[in-house]
Amino acid sequence: MIRVVLPMHLRTIARIEGELLLSVEGPVTQRSVLDALESRHPELRGTIRDHVTLRRRAFVRFFACEQDLSLEAPDDPLPQSVASGVEPFLVVGAIVGG
């Protein structure tokens, strides 16, 4: 199972407490994890990536294993420790004032 940690605002919308455990078919990538997340919680569509282009929203970042994976290609494999469930995949709201 893939461990996913969402920011507080998205946990509130999806009524999630703590980490989310997702089953992902096939290669574990940003795209497959987000597909699984949005399939489980369709109310989150459009909040992390664009509805149509599926591009990451500008102020959303993806972290795992103490690395910023935001600029990696959506179909690149995520680190093995994320795929094996040892480390969580973090969806993070970027630091912005206001």
Partner: protein, 371 residues
């Protein structure tokens, strides 16, 4: 005697304020959607417990929330606002053409007859409609496709469609206003639109009486006379007696005619309210005195209303969607400020009280009169 429910959108959440029967005591619930910008919350005229809210964030984009119990509980509904066809371009600040890009929903206007139907005015300016309670949204592309569309430009607050007025006598007639394109009207349910800006004069655009390009801040009507419209333009209070085909200025004896909101009394179609602001570069009341101005003559002659409002050192603003009237008798008037106060008058503006203070900056105020 009637209870009122005031729906307040702020920079950091929504608040629902409910009165007792004489509108003297208020209870407050919220923040709902804490931390999110709530541009607008509005209820269905035919089902007052059906509310719609526009929730947005620079991080996570647009959400639409729906309530079936007057704002006690909410559920997220559809948030996909995709322009019809190829989006095309409009004028950008530097004179180049810029693609239409959806940013947020500024206003929600529930149908006068069907609680499942609601209109959304968005930035970049376009009109969307849902007929399934907000689950799915479809653009009415005739507006953005108007031949003048490529010339529309954003105002300082973005190119927003901020006002939607539904004609209670004619379901095919809708009025909308865009900053900074102007006012438009459809007479065929949104298939085609015409600019209705004749008579507006704006010195801040190259051709002061151009067909489009005016920064219309807000328009208002009384439901008993939908062909009489009132407008707060960037500068100038305007009036139309022919459904927008022509306008004339009714700023009259106002000390300044810059401002954002304008509202019509619930029972007196010739009584209108504005909140004059010093200028376009000083968005606060004149002399630090917060005053609503009321005209009982449909414009031109205005009286200041200040009893209960701060009359010194007050430098808040009142934004375009932050004023509303209830349907009680006497008519209640409500407005919210960028300082987080919501003021209410239960006597058509003669006396005011702050029904809440210290909210985040108020973006919108709507009110429902409960049975």
């Amino acid at each position: 005697m009637s209870e009122a429910r005031v729906l307040v959108g702020t920079r950091k959440g929504a608040f629902v304020l409910t009165s007792n029967s004489n509108r003297a005591r208020w209870t407050i619930s919220g923040p709902h959607f804490a931390g999110w910008e709530i541009y607008h919350v509005k209820g269905s005229p035919v089902d007052p417990d059906r509310l719609y809210a526009s929730q947005s964030s620079g991080w996570f984009g647009q959400m639409i929330q729906r309530s079936a119990d007057g704002g006690q509980t909410w559920e997220p509904v559809g948030n996909q606002f995709t322009y019809d066809g190829v989006p095309g371009t409009h004028m950008w600040y530097d004179g180049t053409q810029h693609p239409w890009e959806f940013k947020r929903v500024w206003c929600l206007e529930p149908s006068l007859t069907d609680p499942e139907t609601v209109y959304a005015g968005v930035e970049d300016a376009a009109l969307f409609r849902s007929t399934d309670g907000g689950a799915t949204w479809h653009e009415l592309p005739g507006l953005r496709g108007h031949e003048s569309g490529p010339t529309w430009q954003p105002g300082a607050g973005g190119m927003c469609l901020h006002t939607i007025l539904l004609d209670p006598d004619d379901p095919d007639r809708i009025f909308i206003a865009i900053s900074a394109a102007g006012a438009f009207r459809t007479d065929n349910g949104g298939q085609s639109w015409k600019p209705i800006n004749r008579g507006l004069k704006s010195q801040y655009i190259p051709d002061p009486d151009a067909e489009v390009g005016h920064c219309v801040h807000r328009i208002a009507m009384h439901p008993s006379r939908p062909s009489v419209l009132f407008m707060q333009k960037h500068w100038d209070i305007m009036r139309s007696d022919d459904a927008g085909d022509s306008w004339h200025e009714v700023s009259g004896d106002l000390p300044t005619d810059f401002g954002f909101p304008i509202e019509v009394h619930a029972h007196e179609p010739e009584t209108i309210f504005v909140v004059p602001i010093k200028s376009d570069s000083e968005h606060f009341p004149m002399d630090g005195k917060l005053r609503v101005y009321r005209s009982r003559t449909g414009g031109n002659h205005w009286e200041p209303l200040s009893n209960g409002l701060p009359q010194s050192d007050c430098y808040v603003n009142v934004l375009r969607n932050a004023m509303a009237v209830d349907q009680a008798d006497p008519c209640g008037v409500y407005f919210g400020t960028t300082g987080g106060q919501v003021y209410a008058s239960a006597d058509s503006g003669d006396n005011w009280i702050a029904i809440v203070r210290d909210l985040p900056p108020v973006l919108s105020v709507e009110v429902q009169t409960l049975p």
